[in-house]
Symmetry: C2
Subunit: 127 residues, 2 copies
Amino acid sequence: MSDDPRIILLAHGSSDQRWCQTFEKLATPTLDSVAGSRIAYMELAEPSLETIIAQGKKEGITSFTIIPLFLAAGRHLRKDVPGMIDELEATHDVSITLAPPIGENPQLGDAIRDVVNQELERQKQPA
Amino acid sequence: MSDDPRIILLAHGSSDQRWCQTFEKLATPTLDSVAGSRIAYMELAEPSLETIIAQGKKEGITSFTIIPLFLAAGRHLRKDVPGMIDELEATHDVSITLAPPIGENPQLGDAIRDVVNQELERQKQPA
C-alpha cells in the first residue's frame, strides 16, 4: 500500500454516451500508466465523484487528488466542485486536493499546436 | 497570398475574463506558429466567429477551417456550430470546414498523462 493519493480525472459528464467515450479514450494513457487512477464525472454520467471516493475509502484510501479534464476554470471548477469536495470530505472523512484544470498547463498549448499542424497536413493530402 | 484556409481556433466563450485568458494562453503556441490563425468564441465573448469570418472575407480569404478547442463533441459541436456555419457560409459566401474537436486527437491523451505525472511530482516536492 502506498501513501500516494488516488488520482481522479474529473470530467464534466454528459447524457451522450459518445461524449463520455471520448473522455474515456482521453484518460486511457493516464489510467494505463498511473497506478490506481480513475475517471469520474461531475454530473450526468457514472461513475460519479461520490462513487469513486466511496470506493477508494472502502479500499483504505484517505487522500485523493482531483485533476479536472477541463480546459479552463469556469463556474463548475470555481464553485460547484469545491462545494462537492467540502461535502465529500465531511461525509467520507477523507482529504481531497483539487489540482488546476489540465488546460492551465502549458503542455496542453503545445499539444494543441501539434494537433492543428496535423490537421493542416491532413487537409493537404489528396482525398 | 496563399490558398491555405484560415485556421480558426474556436472556444466556447465565457463572460469570465479569466476563462478567456486561459484559452488565449492555450492558443498562443498555435497563433505564434500557424500563419494567419485566429481565436474566436462561440458565445459570450469577443471576437465572435462571425467577426473573424467577416474580417477574413475583407482580407480576401474565402476558405476557413474551424478547429474546436473542445475536449469532446456535445450538443454545441453536433448542432449549434454546424448551424452557425451554414448561416455564415450563406451570408459571407465562404467555405467553412469543421474539424474534429482537439480532444479526439490521441495526442491530447498523451499530453494529459504528462500533465498528471507533473502534478504527482509537484505534490512530492517539500512545500
